[in-house]
Amino acid sequence: MDILFIALTVVFVLGLFGLIEVLGRLKGGAK
């Protein structure tokens, strides 16, 4: 379970980085 928690945390954090990147491109495209 401890390993699963670490893995899930990494996945969710990577997901947030992905969101930051997507919104960054969306904002860039809006200009």
Binding site: M1, L16, L19, I20
Partner: protein
């Protein structure tokens, strides 16, 4: 509503609004790096912290860098909180000898405290060691609140600045929020609570000999809950003769849990416990602490935006909505239960689930305040409220935690609603909408839509999943009330509130797992678009108000802002509420 209830309510509001003004001005100086008084004492310590951690406090960040810093810092806190819980059996400050926390509970709790939700799927006094309470949970109380305040400061800078991509420095905002706002206020409140009798000790629990031993053949609720089984009880003795009375560093946690709108509590029943909230005065102080910083931040916004009237307008919208819902909750709880007709108690207000030392007004007002802010600590069991008395606090959460809301998160949430309000007004009169001189264009509208729609999506999806696939024994009542318990649970977690209908058992893997996902997404998947929105606004020119622009500091805008908040919340949740509290109310008062 009785005159006494009205008086309590009015007194609370007057003190809250009076105290919010000087604190708001003070916090504006903190976020604008101006001398604030305490910097003379704490300034050297602040600079030492920057040097020790290698941070350049003057280095400004764009929205992406700011968001990455927020995510990484919070991820680190998440892992640390989980690790401390799992390892607490090996760590010091554990006088009760509590073992490591169950992994599902530990995951849920780590996410809960890192996201400023403080949903508790455990009983604090029987699950968490002092080490965990202080170094995992209380630390998260400070840093999660400061994270919200930092993001709010960045968002206000996005509105106030022009033609730049710089939003401030996350590390500086975080540090200054803790050092100059949360820490001093917490020390003052903790000392006041200790003065009222709240324990602050590292000694373990005490064992009291019962005057009248419990009857094993007729177990009391306390015995059934295991509160009457002392470690020294004789093996095989089925009649508990002693009671374990938990205590610990309660005052320090109670102070920050209220000021940081974290919620939860040292004890399982939070501020209903006589050690966490012993007197009517401690009740008033804790109640004020819940809403003080979120209300004061409206003035901070006005000062930082260069127009104090803007802060007053947002505060007015929040206060009117709060007063409306608090009034409705007190009114509902003051209404006698019709099932008591003919029993001689039909004229009495509903006192089930309430502490008699607080009464109806003190309990109902707390319920409204704790759900209006993203606090979530309770001083009464909301599950025992009347159907409508439980519905109004639930709806306050479902509005998106913007009626004061969490520290920082409430204000940036309300400002996002303000963006939507000017967009709606722009559609009505056919003009490009503007807020504080910034044009609201498609990107800003998309970000606002994401921010506003994610929490309701999580609440309704989670509720639907729990009804279909959740453990059926999680709810204590069948029918509409059971549905209310589920809806309340996901409304609380999906909006980072943390309060619970007491009848819900949320310790199963489904509830801890689904709840952790809801809390995580509703916090960080909102913060990222909030910062993107701030970054976009910061890059725009600030236009001068023209004759056709909607003034955003007048009563018309306040009414429009409240209407947008209410319409979005009502359209989203009324169908679900009709299945729960409304159906229960109609069945009770048929």
């Amino acid at each position: 509503m009785m005159p006494n209830d009205m008086l309590q309510f009015a007194f609370f509001l007057v003190v809250l609004l009076a105290a919010s003004w000087p604190l708001g001005l003070y916090m504006a100086r903190v976020y604008q790096d101006k001398p604030c008084g305490l910097d003379k004492v704490l300034g050297p310590f602040e600079r030492l912290l920057y040097r020790a951690s290698g941070v350049d406090p003057q280095g400004e960040m764009n929205w992406k860098t700011y968001a990455v810093a927020v995510v990484l810092f919070n991820a680190l806190g998440l892992v640390a909180t989980y690790a401390i819980q799992r390892l607490q059996g090996l760590l010091p400050l554990n006088p009760a000898g509590l073992p490591g926390v169950d992994p599902f509970i530990a995951i849920n709790t780590a996410v809960s405290f890192a996201t400023n939700t403080n949903w508790q799927a455990y009983g604090g006094e029987t699950t968490m060691s002092f080490f965990t309470q202080m170094l995992a949970l209380t630390v998260q109380n400070f840093v999660s609140a400061a994270t919200g305040m930092a993001v709010m400061a960045a968002f206000i800078r996005g509105l106030a600045r022009r033609e730049t991509d710089r939003l401030g420095n996350f590390w500086r905002d975080l540090t200054r929020s803790i050092l100059y706002v949360l820490l001093p206020l917490s020390v003052v409140l903790a000392l006041a609570l200790i003065g009222q009798g709240v324990p602050q000790t590292l000694d373990g629990p005490v064992v009291a000999r019962l005057v009248e031993p419990a009857d094993a053949a007729r177990p009391t609720p306390e015995a059934a809950a295991g509160a009457l089984t002392a470690p020294s009880a004789r093996p095989g003795d089925a009649t508990p003769r002693e009671q374990v009375i938990a205590r610990g560093p309660v005052a320090s946690q109670a102070a920050i849990k209220q000021l940081g709108t974290n919620g939860g509590g040292f004890f399982n029943v939070n501020s209903a416990h006589p050690f966490e909230n012993p007197t009517p005065l401690s009740n008033l102080l804790e109640l004020l602490a819940i809403l003080l910083i979120p209300a004061a931040l409206c003035h901070t916004f006005g000062v930082m935006a260069g127009d104090r009237r803007q802060g007053f307008a947002v505060l007015a919208a929040m206060t009117i909505l709060f007063a409306l819902f608090a009034f409705l909750t007190i009114q509902a709880e003051g209404t006698p239960n019709p099932l008591l007709a003919g029993t001689g108690a039909q004229s009495a207000p509903s006192l089930e689930g309430k502490e008699t030392r607080f009464g109806v007004a003190g309990s109902a007002l707390w319920a409204a305040a704790t759900t209006a802010a993203s606090n979530g600590s309770v001083n009464a069991m909301h599950d025992s409220f009347s159907p409508l008395g439980g519905m109004w606090p639930m709806l306050l959460m479902q509005l998106g935690e913007v009626v004061y809301g969490g520290v920082g998160s409430g204000l940036y949430g309300m400002l996002v609603f303000a963006v939507v309000a000017v967009f709606v007004a722009g559609l009505m009169v056919g003009r490009t909408p503007e807020y504080l001189g910034k044009k609201i264009e498609p990107f800003e509208t998309k970000m606002a839509a994401i921010i506003i729609l994610i929490p309701p999506f999580l609440c309704l999806l989670g509720t639907a999943l729990a009804c279909v696939a959740g453990p059926p024994d999680a709810i204590s009542n069948p029918g509409p009330h059971g549905f209310s318990q589920i809806l309340y649970g996901f409304s609380s977690m999906g909006n980072n509130n943390g309060s619970a209908f007491a009848g819900l058992t949320a310790t199963s893997p489904f509830w801890t797992g689904a709840g952790a996902v809801a809390m995580f997404v509703s916090r960080y998947w909102l913060i990222v678009p909030v910062l993107a929105l701030a970054g976009s606004l910061a890059g725009k020119k600030r236009l001068q108000d023209g004759p056709g622009a909607l003034p955003t500091h007048g009563p018309l805008f306040v009414a429009l802002l409240m209407a947008v908040v209410l319409v979005v919340g009502a359209l989203t949740f009324v169908p679900a509420l009709a299945l729960g509290p409304v159906a229960e109310h109609l069945a009770l008062f048929k």
